[in-house]
């Protein structure tokens, strides 16, 4: 095993109260590959992604990213993993620019100011960089959350419904972005209900039903 797998999920289950959101899931994703995550509403996609991002941890089983156990190595792993989630992680009362600058400084991004400006331009929010996130439309929040994600190139990008709320131009940009990430060697996990679009962007597919993997793993 010269290079450890990007993701290694071993018999993972996650319980909320009496209900198992993810149940005895096992799969691996080799480095540099992209995985499509599909499943009906409530099938456990978000829960799985949050576990991969070390935002929460399995009730049972193990997750290893690049060979490192998530629970034990969270500090190191968080530096390399990025999550785009249903929740935007934004501070409502900070402006778009301040939101990004905070993350840039905490991540130690060099030339934070320039990097932030470039990203705001990239997601089309330059003219609104001083507005607080509270005043943003649904799609504008999503765009800001995407910019937040891109401040530092991650080794693994976890994207939970990245196309939602984006306008057609935004969707095309997002697709280009995913390709770019892949080409740069970043692992991608993409959860979406737009199956065709998703399939054209990924190499493998995992379909969840009630928290369990269904069908052959591609």
């Amino acid at each position: 095993m010269s290079q450890p797998a990007a993701i290694e999920v071993v018999d993972v289950s996650k319980r909320f109260g009496p209900r198992w959101a993810v149940a005895r899931l096992t799969f691996t994703l080799a480095t540099g590959r992209a995985l499509l995550l599909t499943g009906h509403n409530g099938s456990g996609k978000t829960t799985l992604l949050r576990m991969l991002a070390t935002a929460t941890f399995p009730t049972a089983g193990h997750i290893r990213l690049f060979g490192q156990e998530t629970r034990a190595e969270r500090a190191a792993l968080r530096d390399e993993v990025a999550l785009l989630s249903h929740a935007s992680f934004l501070y409502e009362d900070l402006s778009a620019e301040q939101n990004l600058t905070l993350v840039a400084r905490l991540r130690g991004v060099p030339q934070a100011k320039a990097a932030v400006a470039a990203l705001l331009d990239k997601v089309g929010l330059t003219t609104r960089s001083d507005s607080p996130a509270r005043h943003f439309s649904a799609g504008m929040r999503k765009r800001l959350a995407i910019a937040r994600l891109l401040l530092k190139r991650p080794k693994l990008a976890l994207l939970d419904e990245p196309f939602g709320e984006l306008d057609p131009a935004g969707i095309r940009q997002m697709e280009a972005l995913i390709r770019e990430l892949k080409d740069g060697g970043t692992g991608v996990v993409l959860a979406t209900h737009l199956v065709e679009q998703g399939q054209s962007l990924t190499d493998e597919r995992l379909h969840l039903e009630n928290g369990r993997a269904v069908g052959a793993q591609a």
Partner: protein, 230 residues
């Protein structure tokens, strides 16, 4: 992985962010000031027009006002973290949870301290007290007392912000734990107001300082357990 300088840098960023939000909304401190003024008035009103009594218990009322304000201030400071799961975002950046603790607790202490200093002259006028042992000493004591509120307050605010009915849970958790250090603050402040012929001030301040060491140490160690979800 995370050496001490890194924790301090992170704490500084967290503090900076909270101050930025405070500056943008400019709401918390303003509102807190009016709130504690109203509380001071309330005490005197509810307790009748006995000004001798007011003077005698001024220190107690004063700290009660600060304490009530602290409940609101701490709640607000974590409300901004629950919107959009911002605290999750902060953790995943990654930020050391202990840096979050230090930044937030210190920010809250400073906020409370400013509040107490601003309200002080009004309190002195309203309750007709004299500051016998020096204003600098009083300011130091107030800061120590505010630090003593904010460390356990931050821990409990984090717990409460995750639970249901968070607003009511916070004071419920906070008050009993704070009683001893609050008592020390009140006694010491009372001695500054009424003079300290028997030199008891020192021992009360010592007690307060030990509580501080204890609370900050505990908070530093325990806070990560609270905001980490495992």
């Amino acid at each position: 992985m995370s050496g001490h300088p890194k924790i301090l840098a992170g704490a500084f960023e967290v503090l900076r962010k909270d101050l930025l939000i405070e500056w943008r909304t400019r709401a918390r401190l303003n509102a807190l000031i009016f709130f504690s003024l109203a509380t001071l008035l309330l005490f005197s009103f509810a307790l009748g027009p006995d000004s001798e009594l007011l003077r005698k218990n001024a220190a107690g009322y004063y700290w009660l006002g600060i304490l009530m304000a602290s409940v609101l201030s701490l709640g607000e400071s974590f409300r901004i973290e629950t919107e959009n799961l911002a605290l999750d975002g902060l953790r995943l950046i990654p930020t050391d949870p202990r840096a979050v603790f230090l930044g937030k607790a210190f920010g809250n202490a400073v906020m409370l301290w400013l509040l107490s200093l601003i309200v002080l002259p009004v309190m002195v006028a309203l309750y007709d007290v004299t500051i016998r042992e020096g204003v600098a000493q009083l300011a130091g004591l107030l800061f120590l007392g505010c630090l003593g509120i904010s460390a356990p307050g931050t821990v409990y605010a984090a717990i409460a912000s995750n639970a249901r009915a968070r607003d009511v849970l916070l004071p419920l958790l906070l008050f009993p734990v704070l009683l001893p250090s609050l008592l020390a603050s009140v006694k010491a402040t009372g001695l500054i107001f009424e003079g300290d012929p028997m030199l008891q001030l020192r021992s009360w301040v010592g007690l307060l300082a030990s509580f501080n060491v204890l609370y900050w140490g505990l908070g530093f160690v325990l806070f990560p357990k609270i905001i980490e979800d495992d």
